[in-house]
C-alpha cells in the first residue's frame, strides 16, 4: 500500500487516464483503479468524490445521469476537451517527474 500523499497526488491523473478510453461511473472508476493496480491503489468514496466534484467543476470531466434498462440510474463521467489537455500535461509532468526521480535514485541502470 502507498502512502496517502502519493495516492492523492496521482488520483486525478488516474481518473483522467481511465476516462480517456471509456466513460465510467464513480463506483466503476474506484474498482478499475483497484483491480488494475493489483489492489495496491484503493480509494474509498470519501476520497474519490471530492476529487470527481473538483474535476467536474474545473471542466475536465463531465457527468450525466444514465438509466440503462433494468438498472438503477448512475452518473457516468466522460472526458472533456479541456480534460484531455489536462491529461496530456499531467502525463508529461508525470513522466518527467518519474524520470527525474529515477535519475536521482540511479534506478535507470537497474
Amino acid at each position: 500500500m502507498f502512502s496517502p500523499e502519493l495516492k492523492k497526488g496521482s488520483i486525478e491523473l488516474l481518473i483522467l487516464g481511465l476516462l480517456e478510453r471509456e466513460d465510467h461511473h464513480g463506483y466503476r472508476l474506484g474498482k478499475l483503479i483497484e483491480s488494475r493496480s493489483g489492489g495496491n491503489l484503493q480509494f474509498n468514496i470519501s476520497s474519490l468524490y471530492p476529487v470527481l466534484c473538483r474535476m467536474e467543476n474545473r471542466g475536465w470531466i463531465k457527468g450525466r445521469w444514465v438509466e440503462k434498462s433494468g438498472q438503477k440510474r448512475k452518473k457516468y463521467y466522460r472526458l472533456t476537451r479541456e480534460g484531455a489537455r489536462a491529461l496530456a500535461a499531467q502525463q508529461r509532468n508525470w513522466l518527467a517527474f518519474a524520470k527525474s526521480v529515477n535519475q536521482v535514485l540511479g534506478l535507470n541502470e537497474v
Binding site: G26, Y27, I45, S46, G59, K74, K75, R85
Partner: protein, 907 residues
C-alpha cells in the same frame, strides 16, 4: 435492501451548496454505496456484513461533507463558463468551423474575472479610459458635424457666400444696387440671392408682438434645394419693389403661434401695419440663415428694397449667397466677380472706387468663427486621450510584470506561446472595450452638456448630436488601441523565459528593455502635459487680459430695450421724435431709474452702422483713404447712462433738433487721428467725401473711445449724432437703474403701451449680457483648456508616480544591497531621483517643443499675449516638473527608509 438514499441524506450535510447540487451528490453517493453493497452480497456476504462493509467506506460523514462542499465552492463555474461549455459542445457537434469560440468566451470570462479580482487597477484604468475616450468622442462629435460634414443643403459644396470689400473697410455687407448688377452680369452662378434680418411688429392677433423676419431673395429656396411642406415658394414677381406682400412661415412659428393649422395658407399677417398673405410653411429641419436662430417668418427681400436700390452707397446688412454652376471653381467665380467689380468701379466711381467682392465657400464662411476653436479643443482632448492611453498601458505593463509567475505556471503546464499571447491580448482588449463602452456613455452626456455650453459658438445650422458613425468610430479606435497597447507588452511577456519566475521569491523585474519602455512612456506623458498646460496658461492669460481690458463704458445695471416703430404709423421724423421724447420723459420719472436715453446701436451688441466721413482740416495721410467711423444716433443722457467719460465740450440737448444747425460728438481716437494736437471743438465734419453735398456738422464734444465690438476687435473711430436731428424707426431705450435692471421691464412696457397700445417691446437685454456675449467664447476656451490641462496634469502625475513606484520597488533588492554596503539614505534618494528626474526633464524639453508647435493653432484665439509667451512656457514647465518631482519623491523616500535587512531577507 436498505434505503441508501435516506441513509446518505441523513448523514451527508451539504447545506452550503445549492439544493439541486445537494440532491445530485446524495443520489450519486447513495448509488455508489449501493453498488458496494450489491457487490458484497454477490460475494456471498450476509446482509449485515454487506451493510457494514458498504457503510464503512465513509468513516467521518461531516469531514466528507466539508470536503465535498470545499471542492464544489472552490471551482464553482460562473454562468460565462457554462456558456463557454455549451458553445464548446455545439462546436464539437459541428466541428471544423475553424474558430474556437469556446476558448475565446472562456478567455473573456477569465479576463473579466481578473478585472473583478483587482478592483483598484480596474477602477483607475476604466475611469481613465472612460474619461479619455468620452472626452475625445464628445469633442470629435462637434468637430465632425461642424467641420467635416457638408452643410444640410442640397449639393452644398457648390454654395458660396459673397460680401463686399471696400477701400477702407475689409468686410462690408452687400449694396442692393451692386447685387442687382452681380445678378445680371455674372457668368458663373446658377442662382444668386441676398438676405438680411429684421424684427417686425405683429399686430391683429392678440397682444402686439415683435417677430424675427428673414428677408430673402425668391431664388434662395430653390438654390438651397428646399420645398415648403405646405404651400409654395416665393415667385420671382413677388420679390420686387411694389410686389404683392406675401410671407412664408417657419415650421416652429406655424406650430407654436398658429397651432399648426393647415388652413393658414391664404390668411394674412399684419406686420408693421402691412398685410402679408401666407403662401407657405417651411419644413421643421430647415435652418437658414445659418447663424440666425428662430426665424419666425420669411419675406421676399425685394419688397423692402425701394430705399436701398436708389443708394448704391448704402449697404443695408445684406449678405449674398450663390450656387456655382456645375464645374465652376471658386477661383473662376472670384475672377468673374473681380471683372464685375472693376466694371462697376468705372461706372460708379463715387461709390464703388476700390470696392471688390469676397467669394468664399458657404461652409467656410459659416464655420469661420468656430474652426480654430474646435481644432484647438480637438487637439487638446487628443493629447488628453494620449496621456490616458499611456497611463493605462503603464498600468497594464505593471500588472503583467506581476503576473509573470502566473504565466510561468501556465507555460509549464503546457500552455504554448500563442495561448499566453491570446490570454494577455484578450485581457487588454476586454479592458479597452469596456472602457470604450463607458466612454461612449459619457460622451452621450458630454455632447448634451457641451451643446448647451456652446449654443452661441456653434452656428445654428448645425444640430450636433452623438451619432452611430462616431460611436462606431470610438469603439473601433478603442479596439485598435487595445490591440496596439495590448500586443506590444504581450509579445514582450510571452517571449520571456518563464523558468526563473517559478522559483519562489524571485524578483519580478521587467528587465532593462521594459524599464526603458516605461521611462519613455513617462517622458511622453510629461511632454504632453507640458504642451497642454502651456495651452491652458495662454488661454488664461488671454482671458484675464480680455477681462481686464478697458471697454470704455460701465455696463452694470444698464437695461436695453429694442423699440421698432412701424413705418406705417410713424412715417416721418416728427412722429418718431414725439414718441421717443414722451417715452423718455415717462421712463425718467419711474422710481429706480438713474438715467435714460435712446441709442440707435447697442455697443457690444449685434449689428452696427458705419459711414464714410470727411473732417475739415484732417491730416493728408488720413484723408488719402476714405475714413469710416462707427456711427451712433443718441439722445441726451446717453453718455451718462452708459458711463462713457466726457473729455471736453458738451452733451446733446433737446435743442439739437431738426431745425438747429448740425452738431456731432466724436471720440478721442477720431479727434487724435484727424486733428493731432489740436482742439477738436468747433471743427466741422460731413458725411461722404470732400465734394459731397452733405451739410457740415460741428464738433461740440469729445468722449472716450468705446470698444463697441468687444475688445477683440480693433478700436474704431466713433461719431455720435443727436437723435432729434434725424432718425430711423428702430432704437434702443437704454436705462441705468439702481437695482436689478430686468426688474424695470414691466414698468417700461406699461409706459410704452400707454403711448401706443399697438407697440410691443423688442429685444430686451442688459449691458452685462452683451458684454458677456463678447467674452463668452474666450471664457469657454479658457474653462475647457483649464479642465483639460488639470486632468492632464493629474493623469500624468498618477502615471509618473505609478511607474516610478513600480521601478523603485523593483530595485528594492539592489537598494538593499547598496544600503547594506554602507550607502546613506540621501545617496539612495539622490540615485532614485536622478534616474526619475532625467526622464522628467527630457519630457519637459520635448513638451516645450510640442507646445511651440501647437500654440500656433491657438494664436488666433489669444488676446494681447504672444503664442510663444516665455513666462507661460516657463511656468508650465516648472509646474509639470514640480508635480513630476513630487510623484518621484514619494517612492524615492520609501526606498531610502527601507530596512536593508528586511529587503534582503525577503530573498
Amino acid at each position: 435492501m436498505p434505503d441508501w438514499k435516506t441513509f446518505v441524506a441523513d448523514r451527508l450535510h451539504l447545506t452550503a451548496l445549492e439544493e439541486k447540487r445537494q440532491r445530485d451528490l446524495v443520489d450519486e453517493v447513495a448509488s455508489q454505496i449501493e453498488d458496494l453493497y450489491m457487490a458484497a452480497r454477490e460475494d456471498g456476504k450476509s446482509e449485515t456484513e454487506a451493510f457494514e462493509l458498504a457503510s464503512s467506506h465513509i468513516e467521518d460523514w461531516s469531514a466528507f461533507g466539508a470536503e465535498l462542499a470545499k471542492a464544489d465552492r472552490m471551482h464553482r463555474r460562473s454562468a460565462v463558463d457554462l456558456l463557454a461549455e455549451r458553445s464548446e459542445e455545439s462546436r464539437q457537434q459541428r466541428s471544423g468551423l475553424g474558430i474556437d469560440l469556446a476558448a475565446i468566451v472562456r478567455d473573456i470570462a477569465y479576463s473579466l474575472r481578473g478585472l473583478r479580482n483587482s478592483p483598484g487597477f480596474t477602477l483607475v484604468a476604466l475611469l481613465t479610459l472612460a474619461l479619455g475616450i468620452g472626452g475625445t468622442t464628445t469633442i470629435f462629435t462637434f468637430f465632425d458635424q461642424v467641420l467635416l460634414r457638408p452643410l444640410p443643403y442640397a449639393e452644398s459644396e457648390r454654395l458660396v457666400a459673397l460680401w463686399e470689400k471696400m477701400q477702407s473697410f475689409e468686410n462690408a455687407s452687400v449694396s442692393f444696387a451692386n447685387f442687382v448688377d452681380w445678378k445680371e452680369r455674372n457668368r458663373v452662378f446658377e442662382h444668386i440671392g441676398v438676405w438680411n434680418q429684421t424684427n417686425l411688429n405683429l399686430t391683429g392677433s392678440g397682444d402686439p408682438r415683435e417677430i424675427a423676419v428673414a428677408r430673402v431673395s425668391a431664388s434662395l429656396f430653390p438654390m438651397l434645394g428646399v420645398e415648403p411642406v405646405l404651400g409654395r415658394r416665393f415667385l420671382p414677381e413677388e420679390d420686387r419693389i411694389g410686389g404683392s406682400p406675401v410671407v412664408i412661415l417657419s415650421h416652429g412659428f406655424w406650430q407654436t403661434h398658429l397651432g399648426g393649422d393647415t388652413a393658414v395658407l391664404g390668411q394674412a399677417l399684419t406686420l408693421d401695419g402691412v398685410q402679408g398673405t401666407v403662401v407657405g410653411v417651411m419644413p421643421p429641419d430647415f435652418r437658414y440663415p445659418p447663424n440666425m436662430p428662430e426665424v419666425d417668418v420669411y419675406a421676399p427681400v425685394g419688397l423692402f428694397a425701394e430705399r436701398w436700390a436708389e443708394q448704391r452707397g448704402n449697404h443695408p446688412g445684406l449678405a449674398a449667397v450663390a450656387r456655382l454652376r456645375p464645374g465652376v471653381s471658386i477661383e473662376s467665380a472670384r475672377d468673374d466677380m473681380q471683372r464685375i467689380a472693376l466694371e462697376l468701379e468705372a461706372e460708379h466711381p463715387d461709390t464703388n472706387t476700390g470696392s471688390r467682392v469676397h467669394v468664399v465657400s458657404l461652409k467656410d464662411r459659416i464655420t469661420r468663427g468656430t474652426r480654430d476653436f474646435l481644432v484647438l479643443l480637438f487637439l487638446s482632448v487628443g493629447v488628453l486621450l494620449l496621456i490616458a492611453c499611456i497611463n493605462v498601458a503603464n498600468l497594464v505593463l505593471a500588472r503583467n510584470t506581476s503576473r509573470m509567475h502566473e504565466m510561468a505556471i501556465r507555460a509549464s503546464m503546457g500552455a504554448g506561446r500563442n495561448r499566453l499571447l491570446r490570454l494577455l491580448l484578450t485581457d487588454s482588449l476586454v479592458l479597452w472595450i469596456v472602457g470604450g463602452v463607458l466612454g461612449v456613455i459619457s460622451a452621450a452626456a458630454g455632447v448634451r452638456v457641451l451643446s448647451c455650453l456652446l449654443v452661441d459658438e456653434i452656428p445654428w445650422v448645425f444640430q450636433v448630436a452623438l451619432d452611430l458613425r462616431v460611436v462606431g468610430a470610438a469603439l473601433g479606435v478603442s479596439l485598435l488601441t487595445g490591440l496596439l497597447f495590448g500586443l506590444f507588452p504581450a509579445l514582450r511577456l510571452s517571449r520571456q523565459d518563464p523558468k526563473p519566475f517559478l522559483v519562489d521569491g524571485v524578483r519580478t523585474t521587467g528587465g532593462l528593455a521594459r524599464a526603458r519602455l516605461r521611462s519613455f512612456l513617462v517622458a511622453a506623458e510629461v511632454s504632453l502635459a507640458v504642451a497642454l498646460l502651456v495651452g491652458a496658461g495662454l488661454a488664461i492669460r488671454s482671458f484675464s487680459n480680455i477681462k481686464g481690458a478697458e471697454l470704455g463704458l460701465e455696463p452694470s445695471n444698464v437695461l436695453s430695450v429694442g423699440l421698432n416703430l412701424p413705418e406705417a404709423s410713424y412715417p416721418n421724423v416728427p412722429e418718431r421724435t414725439e414718441f421717443f421724447t414722451r417715452l423718455l420723459d415717462a421712463v425718467r420719472r419711474l422710481p429706480g431709474v438713474v438715467s435714460a436715453s435712446t441709442s440707435y446701436v447697442v455697443p457690444l451688441g449685434p449689428g452696427g452702422w458705419q459711414n464714410g466721413f470727411f473732417a475739415e482740416g484732417m491730416t493728408p495721410e488720413f484723408a488719402g483713404s476714405q475714413p469710416y467711423a462707427e456711427v451712433n444716433s443718441v439722445s441726451t443722457g446717453y453718455f451718462k447712462t452708459m458711463g462713457i467719460a466726457r473729455v471736453s465740450g458738451r452733451d446733446f440737448t433737446r435743442q439739437d433738433n431738426a431745425d438747429a444747425p448740425g452738431v456731432v460728438i466724436v471720440d478721442t481716437k477720431l479727434a487724435e487721428d484727424c486733428w493731432p494736437n489740436q482742439n477738436p471743438l468747433g471743427k466741422r465734419i460731413k458725411w461722404g467725401k470732400i465734394d459731397s453735398g452733405n451739410p457740415w456738422m460741428e464738433v461740440v464734444g469729445v468722449v472716450d473711445n468705446v470698444m463697441v465690438n468687444g475688445v477683440l476687435q480693433r478700436a474704431t473711430h466713433q461719431l455720435y449724432i443727436p437723435h432729434w436731428q434725424d432718425n430711423d424707426n428702430s432704437y434702443y431705450l437704454m436705462v441705468k437703474t439702481r437695482r436689478d435692471p430686468l426688474g424695470m421691464v414691466a414698468a417700461i412696457r406699461r409706459e410704452v403701451l400707454a403711448l401706443d397700445p399697438n407697440q410691443p417691446l423688442g429685444t430686451i437685454g442688459t449691458m452685462e449680457d452683451w458684454e458677456g456675449d463678447t467674452t463668452r467664447s474666450n471664457h469657454l476656451t479658457t474653462l475647457l483648456m483649464a479642465v483639460f490641462s488639470g486632468a492632464a496634469i493629474l493623469l500624468a502625475a498618477v502615471g509618473v508616480y505609478g511607474v516610478m513606484a513600480q521601478l523603485t520597488a523593483e530595485r528594492d533588492h539592489e537598494i538593499g544591497i547598496r544600503m547594506a554596503l554602507g550607502a546613506r539614505g540621501e545617496q539612495i534618494l539622490a540615485l532614485v531621483l536622478r534616474q526619475g528626474m532625467g526622464t522628467v526633464v527630457s519630457g519637459v524639453a520635448v513638451g516645450v517643443g510640442l507646445a511651440l508647435f501647437l500654440s500656433r493653432v491657438a494664436a488666433s484665439q489669444l488676446y494681447q499675449v504672444s503664442a510663444t509667451d516665455p513666462l507661460t512656457f516657463f511656468l508650465a514647465s516648472i509646474l509639470v516638473a514640480l508635480v513630476a518631482a513630487l510623484a518621484n519623491i514619494v517612492p524615492a523616500r520609501r526606498a531610502m527608509t527601507a530596512d536593508p535587512a528586511r529587503v534582503l531577507h525577503a530573498e
